[in-house]
């Protein structure tokens, strides 16, 4: 994540120059660091230290509890499924929004942000109703033997809803800046639309699609609010990882909550690291 610094000497020189040029370096950086310390670093260290007090045995007991493992599995599989479906629909949406003009395009573009803007509790409430047995969509699913809520299906739907914009908004700008000439070049060389898309466009979009996938996946993995409304929290079946944490808290097992939280934190860092790696890999093709 820390990119290599240029020549030390040069850095120092540039630093001095920049510092002289505009005022406020100490003030703004100082405030930024202070704020981040109070809000992020101190609570995080508190949790890490409290966690280390639990000891390895206690930690693993909580983290590897069968019920917890079932929840991780669902979290992982459901988030993965939701993110993959979003790659499909999100890329399609981005393509349609960037490439075609049609009535309602601006509205569609604005609607993509609904999951960003709608509080997750509200999303969970309305999705739970919509996909419930009497809901507008759920009543059609029931005869097919699909339970829209209190089911893994419902979890996937909710996670898909909250993470959709990440894929669209990551792919969209890349598609917008994609040069039309490149596709025309492929055409003059004899490539048809499909081949141009798969050989030329898709490889260029791929880093942004993967980034979008990772962001959507990370968002889905951490989601709690909407799931609270649709999953029914059935142990071993529809419980997701954050709900295990809540369950520990409800039972006043703070140590358990902290152990699971630490575990989730580590996973978050791994994902964040992966996203950074992908982005630096994607920069390979930039000038």
């Amino acid at each position: 994540m820390v990119r290599p610094n240029p020549e030390p000497e040069e850095t120092v020189k540039r630093q001095d120059k920049m510092r002289r040029l505009l005022p406020g370096f100490r003030l703004t950086l100082g405030f930024t660091l202070f704020y981040l310390s109070v809000v992020v670093l101190i609570p995080m260290s508190a949790m890490i230290l409290r966690g280390s007090g639990i000891g390895w045995d206690g930690f693993w007991k909580y983290v590897l509890h069968p019920r917890a493992i079932a929840a991780y599995k669902l979290s992982l599989v459901a988030s993965m499924t939701a993110a993959l479906l979003n790659v499909l629909f999100g890329t399609l949406l981005a393509w349609v929004l960037v490439r075609y003009t049609f009535p309602g395009r601006r509205l569609m573009d604005a609607l993509v942000d609904v999951p960003f803007a709608l509080p997750t509790a509200v999303a969970g409430l309305t999705l739970g109703n919509l996909y419930g047995p009497q809901g507008w969509i759920g009543q059609w699913l029931a005869p097919m033997g699909i339970a829209g809520v209190n089911s893994q299906f419902g979890v996937v739907i909710a996670l898909m809803f909250v993470s959709l914009p990440f894929v669209v908004r990551t792919v969209q700008p890349v598609l917008e800046s994609f040069e039309q000439e490149v596709e025309e070049a492929a055409a003059t060389l004899g490539a048809g639309r499909w081949r141009t898309f798969f050989r030329v466009v898709l490889p260029t979009l791929l880093p942004s699609i993967i980034t979008g996938f990772a962001l959507a996946f990370a968002r889905a993995l951490g989601e709690f609010g909407s799931i609270q409304f649709v999953s029914g929290s059935i142990p071993f079946r529809t419980e997701i990882a954050p709900q295990i944490l809540i369950q520990h808290l409800d039972e006043h097992e703070t140590a358990g909550a902290i152990a699971v939280a630490l575990f989730l934190l580590i996973i978050s860092f791994l994902i964040l690291g992966t996203i950074n790696l992908i982005e630096s890999w994607a920069r390979r093709f930039q000038n």
């Binding site: 000439e181 490149v182 070049a185 055409a187 003059t188 060389l189 490539a191 490889p203 791929l206 093709f285």
Partner: protein
């Protein structure tokens, strides 16, 4: 005949980009489409490629009507202004792209790519990605990629537009050499008249969707068909004069009325090289001050100001300048050896008038 356009027009909505254009390009010719931006030249190039469809008219390549042939099957090599290289592919894969589309055998592809890499001087760069290349190298990759499938025609859109001035000159010469070597019918677009003059066998000059003139560089320079061409190709002094007493006048300068009646205006144009300058204030008819000398390399451009405030541009070799011992601020005299009466837009120009006998001018002055 390699390319033929018959009465081609192209409209985008209400805007006519190209208006009733006909021309032919012979096999193996190197032709430049020249004009200011908005002239329609790029649209013509893209129609030949199949990237745009003509609204009216017929387009033939090697005798076959191409209007409805999709771009993929036209067998055209197109080099884009921004090169449009495939960023995620190496130089090798970029060049091989068209061959792979044709499903050629691997060995054949490798051989053809290697051949082009040699021809275009790209040895050792095959494994690089486009972002690891210089501007000139990128352009050569773009040309190699276009040439790989052995196209019938090579089309280049502003091929020298994206490189800096010094490399431009080298690239021009290089393009001429490449064309001589491959002898492929080549059409390129440029807005730079010098570039068009230097590189092309023939030039087509476009303005506002019209084909203004078509000819060899020498023809368009020496016999421009209209004022637009005359002014676009090279530098021209233009004087707007009013006829009075049978003579067209502007300040101290005067010309015969050329059939224009009293009170009418006519426009006179003359090239800077047609202006003869002397350091002696009385050798020629017109007096002026040498306001400024611009050094353009081997040639110099002089800016003369007449007592009435008219500015006349003259051109002179370094040697002549030294011989005449000219200096900025000097009083000089000049005369105009050749000029032409400029027709109104769309009208055809009359030939140049040569002032062999100063009496023609001197008459009535």
């Amino acid at each position: 005949m390699s390319i033929e356009l018959r009465h081609i027009s192209k409209r985008f909505g209400d805007i006519t980009a190209v208006r009733n254009i006909s021309f032919t390009v012979g096999e193996g010719e190197l032709v430049g489409l020249l004009g200011p931006s908005g002239g329609g030249k790029t649209t013509v190039l893209r129609m030949i490629a199949g990237l745009e469809t003509p609204t009216e008219g017929d387009l033939f390549v090697r005798g076959r009507r191409m209007n409805d042939v999709p771009v993929q099957t036209r067998n055209i090599g197109f080099v884009f202004q921004g090169y449009a290289l495939f960023k995620t592919m190496t130089v090798f894969d970029n060049i091989a792209f068209g061959l792979r589309i044709q499903k050629q055998r691997c060995a054949d592809i490798a051989a053809r790519v290697e051949e082009l890499v040699k021809t275009l001087g790209l040895e050792g760069l095959e494994r690089r990605f486009p972002h690891q290349l210089s501007g000139g190298q990128r352009q050569r990759v773009a040309i190699a990629r276009a040439l790989a499938p052995k196209p019938n025609v090579l089309l280049l859109d502003e091929p020298f537009g994206a490189v800096d001035a010094k490399i431009r000159q080298e690239l021009r010469e290089w393009l001429v050499q490449l064309h001589d070597e491959l002898n492929i019918t080549t059409v390129f677009v440029t807005h730079d008249q010098e570039e068009a003059m230097e590189v092309s066998n023939r030039i087509l000059i476009f303005s506002r969707g019209n084909l203004e003139q078509l000819g060899t560089p020498r023809e368009v320079y020496e016999q421009p068909r209209n004022e637009f061409v005359a002014r676009f190709i090279g530098v021209m002094n233009v004087l707007e004069m009013t006829v009075s007493g049978g003579i067209a006048r502007l300040g101290g300068l005067s010309f015969p009325a050329h059939g224009h009646s009293e009170g009418q205006t006519l426009r006179i144009g003359f090239r800077p090289y047609a202006v003869q300058v002397s350091m002696s204030p009385n050798e020629y008819r017109h007096q002026a001050i040498l306001k400024h000398t611009y050094f353009l390399g081997i040639m110099l451009r002089l800016e003369l100001e007449t007592p009435d405030g008219l500015v006349v541009r003259a051109r002179m070799s370094k040697e002549d300048y030294a011989r005449l011992k000219l200096e900025d601020g000097m009083s000089v005299s000049f005369q105009i050896r050749e000029y032409r009466v400029l027709a109104r837009e769309g009208e055809i120009l009359t030939p140049e008038v040569s002032i062999a006998h100063p009496t023609v001018l001197g008459e009535g002055i």
